[in-house]
């Protein structure tokens, strides 16, 4: 199996504080890879590093063998900032998404005023290709379509986008809520909608940041099935942060445990569960974690 995502000695410091220190792991194709650790362990920071929201302090990240993030060799700073432009131009978050890594957010970031349908439709934008100029032309007016044949491309592509959106929403069980404004959706559905939106880009790697937060046990079970189904249907690889231990243990092929930004353990669910270090640092309080996971959120090290 090919390596999808590879983190090598990844380190992120905020000032003097090391949020993530020397983390190395590899995700294989088709895996569901769990990233766990107590609050503030740096899990979300790792997501932000992968998606280029943050720049690396040290180390590098590669995706299907291609390097997508590297530490800035000159470090931040005004003089070096100019040099940096010649050395290595970090990818922007949208470029990461174009390469096939999409994500959800721990504190849901939907387009709140748009409807469920519009949320996903917007995210499908990469499947259409018409230009800005074409978009201001009248559609479905026969004379204009006849005189300017390319005005039809827009209509054709828009129809395809809508079809794709419909399929996705049906798959995620959101079709009945298509005209509801995202902000008014129940919490669990908002999480699902975020996943649907991330899938709209046909990603190869999906990053899920606490997808089950705020869900009851039945919903969590349904979500597990859904994630598995998505993985199989779309041929995806999934990296998942979660506090619900039953979800992680039942779903993941491999688990990576973080504590205070450092690697604590890595392995299959069974290996991790039996690792004394993990039991001491994390699983001992797992039930509590699962409970307050939903209201506390992750007090990420970056907050300090």
């Amino acid at each position: 199996m090919t390596d999808v995502l590879k983190l090598e000695q990844v380190t992120k410091r905020f000032g003097g504080l090391t949020a993530v220190g020397d983390v190395t792991f590899t995700i294989k194709e088709g895996e569901i890879f769990g990233l766990i650790g107590p609050n503030g362990a740096g899990k979300t920071t790792i997501f932000n590093l992968i998606t280029a929201v943050y720049t690396l302090t040290e180390g590098k990240i590669s995706f299907y063998g291609e390097q997508i993030a590297e530490a800035d060799p000159y470090g931040p700073g005004f003089v070096n900032g100019i040099k940096r432009r010649f050395a290595w131009k970090p990818l922007k978050p949208f470029q990461i998404a174009e390469k096939g890594i999409t994500r959800t957010f721990q504190n849901i970031r939907l387009f709140k005023k748009l409807t469920t349908f519009e949320n996903v439709l917007t995210a499908c934008h990469r499947s259409a290709n018409y230009s800005l100029f074409e978009s201001i032309l009248p559609r479905r007016i026969p004379i204009i379509n006849y005189v300017l044949p390319w005005s039809k491309t827009l209509w054709r592509e828009e129809t395809e986008l809508r079809k794709k959106t419909e399929e996705l929403l049906k798959l995620m069980g959101l079709w009945d809520y298509r005209d509801m404004v995202a902000a008014n959706l129940p919490y669990g559905l908002q999480r699902k909608l975020e996943i649907a939106r991330a899938l709209a880009l046909d990603p190869k790697l999906l990053l899920l940041d606490e997808p089950a937060a705020g869900m009851n046990p039945e919903e969590t079970l349904a979500l597990m099935d859904l994630i598995r189904r998505i993985r199989d249907d779309f041929g995806l690889t999934v990296l998942i942060i979660e506090h619900h231990m039953d979800l992680i243990m039942g779903l993941c092929d491999k688990i990576f445990v973080l504590n205070f930004g450092k690697a604590l353990a890595e392995g299959t669910p069974a290996q991790v569960q039996n690792n004394p270090k993990v039991v001491e640092a994390y699983l001992g309080s797992a039930e509590e974690e699962a409970k307050d996971g939903e209201e506390a959120g992750e007090g990420d090290a970056a907050d300090a």
Binding site: T44, F47, N48, T51, V53, Y54, P76, F78, F105, Q106, R109, D300, A302, D303
Partner: protein, 292 residues
């Protein structure tokens, strides 16, 4: 050389007035994170308050300055209560604050036009207009006065912010208003203090500015310069606002002296763009990384 020194002194004096305005604006920005475009209106009112305190109440200069400062401070606080605090309670996005501020600015300016009239008014001559000469350099008394008073006002502000309990709370709020609130800081009171301080500085600036030039309802437009100065230095940073203002004053007078006075503002605006391109958060602004 003497021309240069002359420009330097003029620049410092006008820069110090910009600093008074920019600091008030930056103070509000540091806590509420929006550009208070009504600041110009408060400055304009400060100029009028000072004028009437001198003319109608026939106060001495220092008395009029204090009256102008407090009256302008109260106007700023009143504005906050009417135009901003309802928005604050609703957690409105900063866009709405800006628009509300623009409305307030239009209101204040035209209120003065409607009541006092659009005519230019001049301050009575308090200080002799004969300049003081040091060798080849001559400095007008009002310029020296502006610089000294601005320096004293800023020193008082620095004292309040660095040494008092209220100042500590202000600094805490500028890091995180919500966090400070949780730690028992009364954010509403801090915002009151912020607007009072900013308004008082605006009043002082308005009066000094009116004394140097004239007083008219559109005088608040000058705050555009202080916004630019604040952006130069980095929004929300008080030392940045002061440094940016002094720099802007120097650049203006030096370009007026050596290039051409009509290009003065143009050069200032171009420099603004250049600074932002090279360092998007201003000279002393903090770089923030979005948290996902």
């Amino acid at each position: 050389m003497s021309v240069f020194l002359q420009q330097l002194i003029n620049g410092l004096s006008i820069g110090s007035i910009y600093a008074l305005m920019a600091v008030g604006y930056s103070l509000v920005y540091s806590i509420l994170n929006f550009s208070n475009f009504a600041h110009g209106g408060v400055i304009m009112l400060g100029a009028y308050f000072g004028l009437y305190a001198l003319n109608l109440l026939s106060l001495p200069f220092m008395g009029a300055l204090v009256v102008a400062a407090f009256a302008a401070g109260l106007v700023a606080v009143g504005l906050e209560k009417i135009a901003y605090s309802p928005l604050r309670k609703r957690n409105a996005p900063s866009l709405y604050f800006i628009i509300s501020a623009m409305g307030a600015s239009i209101f204040l300016e035209n209120f003065v036009v409607a009541t006092i009239g659009p005519t230019f008014k001049t301050y009575p001559e308090i200080f002799s207009t004969t300049p003081i000469t040091f060798g080849a350099i001559s400095v007008s008394r009002i310029d020296i006065l502006m610089f000294v008073i601005a320096a004293i006002s800023l020193a008082i502000l620095v004292f309040i912010i660095e040494k008092t309990k209220v100042g500590l709370a202000i600094r805490a709020c500028s890091y995180s208003a919500r966090g400070s609130n949780l730690m028992g800081v009364n954010v509403n009171r801090i915002i009151f203090v912020i607007f009072l301080l900013g308004g008082m500085l605006a009043g002082v600036a308005g009066m000094l500015f009116g004394m140097k030039y004239t007083v008219y309802p559109q005088i608040g437009v000058i705050t555009n310069k202080s916004f630019i100065a604040a952006v130069f230095g980095g929004l929300g940073s008080l030392p940045g606002a002061v440094v940016g203002s002094i720099l802007l004053g120097l650049i203006e007078t030096i370009s007026a002296g050596y290039i051409a006075s009509q290009y003065r503002d143009l050069i200032a605006f171009s420099l603004l763009i250049i600074v932002l391109v090279v360092k998007p958060s201003g000279l002393m602004g903090k770089i923030t990384e979005d948290k996902a």
